[in-house]
Symmetry: C2
Subunit: 444 residues, 2 copies
């Protein structure tokens, strides 16, 4: 008989993992707390759209879903910065042809669940809330839609139940479990720029829009129907804080002053502002991620990160790929599978968590800064002139399968190199191979 795997959480990571494990022939049960997203058009919780890039596409390609998902996606080849006066500045994310892809979380999750449902060895349960995990008996207990309790025995349990995972709670109660949750001082609220008369985009379609304002910012991502999902990121407290925007008049004045070009496109601004929740942003780190050969955590359950590098889903999908590779290498030694998986992924999850927090400050503050744009200009020239030698942190993170740790370290080295060029006042010598030869050691 095939080994049984219980996956707790049918979001993006859980449904992708179910497919990977089914392809290996395991008997998979997938439990999701929420109702079936195929029957419920309104997708509750979490952000509406996501930026799918190389790592995520790599994971989808292995189950043949990449092309179909890209068909519904909108490529964003760069950032479009909006100044207070409405001036636009465009900065490409990578080279010609490189782009991140705006996809709908709900649609992607639905596609994954539909594909999972085609496998005879996957059983999906919705409205099933994990209320206990008993590792001595390999049991998961779920509260089902009718209020009954369902006890499920399996060989392995994998927790993909998100930042506030019930499965992780079980590990937290044990001794020597390292854990941290750190909230950003900034929260977020989703707003909307609707499509124009003929479902037309009222701003540039192929870019991620940013209104950087130092201590706060707004961003907008395009959706296939012609609308943009806007997100205001802002401190909870303080002069420019959500707590201060407590009347319609204040909201209108604040937007008119700070985002005048956007506010003209936001007819439902004040309604949305007071209807939509203000949500918090948390980084969760923990270790170990596994308990013997019984339980493993994956995705946000192991490493929730803030959204500013657009890597949350991409990182979680890469978890699945790496885990699957460990199964390929070490099965049926599950202790080894679990241990190798956590050792390979933990440093990378830590790296992207730190990169994501850093990127908030870059997006909100630095992208409007002259010195920063000058550095980005030098970086762009280096990438163009020496594509094999110079890879930007953004490129390594977003458009490569190099590890996040490598991207983090290489980014620091890149910064030292560019600082040196600026200190040498050698911007015009970048094309000079002899000059550059004296500097490449900084990247080693």
């Amino acid at each position: 008989m095939q080994e049984k795997i219980t996956i707790v959480g049918g979001g993006l990571s859980g449904s992708l993992l179910a497919i990977y494990m089914a392809k290996r022939g395991f008997e998979v049960s997938l439990f999701e707390r929420r109702p079936d997203m195929r029957k419920n058009k309104i997708y509750a919780g979490k952000s509406i759209n996501l930026a799918l890039s190389t790592r995520g596409l790599n994971a989808l390609s292995k189950i043949g879903l990449d092309t179909e998902i890209l068909n519904d996606a909108i490529p964003m080849a760069g950032r479009m910065m909006h100044s207070v006066k409405g001036d636009l500045t465009y900065q490409p994310y990578g080279k010609e042809g490189q782009a991140i892809n705006s996809v709908s979380r709900g649609r992607l999750n639905t596609k994954l669940v539909e594909l999972a449902d085609e496998y005879p060895n996957i059983t999906i349960y919705f409205n099933a809330k994990c209320v206990d995990v008993d590792l001595t008996k390999n049991l998961c207990v779920f509260e089902m839609e009718d209020g009954s309790k369902k006890e499920v025995w399996s060989d392995r349990i994998i927790g993909t139940d998100g930042a506030f995972a019930a499965t992780r709670g079980k590990m937290q109660m044990g001794d020597r479990f390292n854990y941290s949750q750190n909230y950003l001082h900034v929260g977020y609220k989703e707003l909307v720029i609707p499509a124009g008369p003929n479902a037309e985009f009222l701003m540039e379609k192929g870019a991620l829009h940013i209104w950087p304002r130092g201590s706060y910012m707004m961003i907008a991502l395009p959706n296939p129907a012609g609308d943009f999902t806007c997100t205001l990121f802002m401190p909870f407290e303080g002069e420019y804080g959500f707590a201060n925007l407590d009347t319609k008049e204040k909201v209108v004045e604040f937007f008119n002053t700070n985002f005048p070009d956007a506010v003209a496109l936001m007819p439902t601004l004040t309604e949305d502002f007071f209807t939509n929740p203000t949500s918090s942003l948390v980084t969760v780190k923990c270790y170990p991620w596994v308990k013997e050969d019984k339980l493993a955590l994956m995705g946000d359950a192991a490493h929730a990160i803030v959204p500013f590098y657009g890597q949350g889903m991409n990182c979680s999908f890469e978890d699945v790929v790496v885990f699957d590779e460990c199964v390929e290498k070490y099965f049926p030694n599950w202790t080894k599978v679990f241990d190798e998986y956590q050792k390979l992924r933990k440093p990378n999850a830590d790296a992207i968590a730190d990169l994501a927090v850093q990127n908030y400050y870059e997006m909100a503050d630095k992208v409007g800064d002259k010195e920063f744009l000058h550095k980005k200009h030098i970086e762009h020239d280096l990438s163009d002139l020496y594509p094999e030698k110079y890879k930007s942190q953004y490129e390594l993170t977003t458009f490569s399968l190099s590890s996040y740790s490598y991207a983090l370290n290489q980014g620091k080295k890149n910064e030292a190199l560019i600082d040196r060029i600026i200190a040498d006042k050698a911007e015009d010598k970048i094309k000079d191979a002899a000059y550059m030869d004296t500097l490449w050691h900084l990247l080693a």
Copy 2:
């Protein structure tokens, strides 16, 4: 009518706080999970003895307990390092007359509870376990010895219920509560060197003994009855790890090889080793420490630290002093009392947490190192020659009321100064005021 204060946890911080609050005239209820330590000689949990120093003594002096406690304490003026061959090296902690004091946790707690019991406005409940806190109704719920539930209403609730505080659990469930628990890779086990024939000390009485062995160490603190409490600190796993010491033969061989001078004084070594638990060491950080004007966390409940700087109790006692000063300044504005308290204490709790982890590596590894001892020698000379200008990190932390943050920062500056003297090969110029005048800016 006087305001009611409920204190959850009757350990060292809770019982001290009860007295401070009673002196201000509040009606105090103190709830302790364990039985009355005055009736139970065996004191369960936590380490047996503690190092009381300036901050702790300052807190005790304000309630007139310092002299009485010092009468039962054993001053330790320095560290006594034991090499594998049994060679001894002595290093004073501070100046002539400065010492840390070995005190019994049980005796100190008993004295505090006895003093608390003398106040008519303090009521103490033992065997009362906090099972819920309802902040909307200002209620604490306790499970009493007979299994009944007791609901207690009060104006303020203060959680002094330790590293795994039930009161903190309530705050953790809310949004935007930053929290981390980090376990050291090292655990500990308590052992004993009994007194000699006439209750005599079999090693130097006035020192904290250390057997530094790099990746592990043993320490010993003197007790008034002539015995020493030994603690072995060692990784859980690995070649030199607790997991490896799983037979009497291995334990005996390990001690004979690594602590031969101590093992000769430890007749019950193997029994103690397999009877006493191996415990873990955790650093807990969190924020905020308060919820409006209703609940405040104090002591280990707010900031559990590892024991290597001997400051856990001293830091918690200083919390009480600072909180009391906030009450004096801002009462009856409790929102302000709570907020000022957390703002004043949080950076210092973080600083001593980091200093305590650093000190593990210093004690286990560096104290046996020639370069380290050379630096300590220079430091000692600087302290002697320039007592007003040069204060060591240890002195600032242990023998002063300067903030822990200041001690942490000043320690880094001291290190830079000493590194510079060594780089200049100027050890013999320390007495040269002109040379030193060129360096003092490093401490600014």
